[in-house]
Chain length 429, copies 2
Amino acid sequence: MNIPRTSFPRVVIIGGGFAGVSLAKKLSKQEVQVVLLDKHNYHTFQPLLYQVSTGGLEPDSIAYPIRKILKDFPNFHFRLANVEEINTEAKKVITDIGTLKFDYLVVASGSKTNYFGNTEIEKNSMAMKTIPQSLNLRSLILENFEDALLTSDLNERNALMNFVIVGGGPTGVELAGALAEIKKGILPKDYPDLDTRMAQIHIIQSGDCVLKGMSDKASAKAEDFLEKLGVHIWKNVRVTNYDGKSVTTNSDLTFETATLIWAAGVKGATIKGLDASEFITRGNRILVNEFNQVKGFNHIFAVGDVAFMETEEYPEGFPMMAQPAIQQGKQLGENMLRLIEGKPMKPFEYKDKGAMATIGRNKAVVDLPRFKFQGVLAWYVWMFVHLFFLIGFRNRMVVFVNWVYNYIRFDREARLIITPFKRTLKSKF
Amino acid sequence: MNIPRTSFPRVVIIGGGFAGVSLAKKLSKQEVQVVLLDKHNYHTFQPLLYQVSTGGLEPDSIAYPIRKILKDFPNFHFRLANVEEINTEAKKVITDIGTLKFDYLVVASGSKTNYFGNTEIEKNSMAMKTIPQSLNLRSLILENFEDALLTSDLNERNALMNFVIVGGGPTGVELAGALAEIKKGILPKDYPDLDTRMAQIHIIQSGDCVLKGMSDKASAKAEDFLEKLGVHIWKNVRVTNYDGKSVTTNSDLTFETATLIWAAGVKGATIKGLDASEFITRGNRILVNEFNQVKGFNHIFAVGDVAFMETEEYPEGFPMMAQPAIQQGKQLGENMLRLIEGKPMKPFEYKDKGAMATIGRNKAVVDLPRFKFQGVLAWYVWMFVHLFFLIGFRNRMVVFVNWVYNYIRFDREARLIITPFKRTLKSKF
């Protein structure tokens, strides 16, 4: 890669997610050269991906061009690249667009869907970790309803209208709530020829509650909200397989569905060269010390979802979500400057700002460190916080316009099949 | 297709563009069963496609779910289908999802890009007639700049940054203007490592002026605006070939470019069964009488771009744009009801409402039947008219927010490579 060397040390950051971008921002006005690599040219606001999948928002309102985030900063370089390997000895990253030397390396590659080794599920299910995946899900949901119109086989029609979500975390809960609202508010008008009441939404949860990471109150209330919306919650059930038609579980339960959404877990998106067992710990995450340094290296770091920092309060590492990533990115920025100047680094301390999830209109749950509440107020807080954390004024405005409209009209207008995901059309009449 | 027959006559409409949708609206509250077929589940507001290609708008602001447009009307059925053939004898349309009988058929299939038989150009160039095509062009433009960063071959870099637009109609002119503004306002910030001044935008025009269908004043002023924006206009030049690298013309002129946008013409999108020479006339359009009836049939009609109606004032048929399509759709709706009731139909009369094109900020040309003007006022009128004709309140709001933002900030934030179009990356360093 032809990026000219300067007299400043070069920091290569792999990944433009929450961690990578907050780190780059911290470093951007300093005497370092920053090279950020990402396989997309945009930063994704992942917490709202489920709204893209369900036609509530278009990608541009939750994506932001990475080049634009850092356009005013000198010494910043972005390259659209897929990192294939890290050579820690030679201080090089090897990518699909060439090799790049680094002085400091930060792995901020995030997480990817964890199928726990089940390739059949991986092949047949839908994930929702990226914008292209979310758009595929949006297309599939709509295509399924179009196909349901074409079949006279009742079982097939039901399978096309059923949705099975595996995993009762925030992603699963928020998606289930959105699907339930679509079922109620949009499908009967869009598909008067179909008995859309037959569409069912299931959450399958291996543990004994949804939103496991949140308070018992939040968890119970979320369950209550979901049930009011008609979502079926199956607890203590583990999905064992999905062949594209039938979901089997460790119990007698089976489900016939054309759409299985796998939101059952994530794992660190490690990279060859730093994926040996000496670096990796639980959840396929890279073990780091309190300065986010990778074991055995002074100049290689990991932050965000891919990093595993064990603390007394978090023996299983920090939760894999936005806040720890943002905080680590910022702190590492400061620490790297200290390191470069020969000053001692400060250990990272995670400030838990709470967690929240929305289930539907006027229905959300919020756990703040000192205050937990649910319902309408929680829903407003959820919206406000998400608008606040979105990058860019225009994005906020567009999301705001869409939310107000969707709220007033009980609608989601981005129900467009722009890129068809399937077009099986098995049935010919 | 399992659409139940009712006692009402069945009208099958092929195509959910301007003509098909205005016709369906007219028929929707009447005693007819309407079946609308389209290969997309949305209506596209084609006049703003160039803004999708250039990152100014996302698809959802110019697309509208067809099911939603007609959701409140009984007797309306939509099917996502690709029509393969029309059997005029048996009164059937054959589609990829089955066969459908009709009592009345309306072909509103619009137009498609006309390559005048040059398959090499068809293979290597980009078109901009649909949303997926426009998104592909958006991706390609951005990918080219990412690739330009990677090459040290100066000729290759120039080819990646050059854009050649064939055709000086509204599409070519509006796209060229938008690209010129991107070159000026966005590229230098996004790509500080590139000398983006070297990016060139060319319009190649076979005739002796741009915007041929408009007044001489509009045409001259548009040319003036384009030149001020740094766009090169080549008149009386005909492109003879494009192999993906070099554009050859009927003169000595050649252009090296990785992006050729073909906006040189359209032709009727005819359908097998109605494409015999007895039905087809100039521009591959279906010859219709003053009631939009296809020659030899009482119950088969064509409207919009695909229809060719010869009148004294328009010996070459009506211009292939939104207004004739909308007006024909409405009028045909009324005529079909008259026909069904046994009343005489009224001949179609086209009311020319004028034409307009925008070149850039504060730069547009407007030809109204009695009044022609250019510049800032024309630009406001252009915006107002386009906002007015967009379907849906939310779409208008989202477009408005984007336009205000883009105007104030000289920006276009949807510069996202969501679905990569190419990822050649020939160069490795």
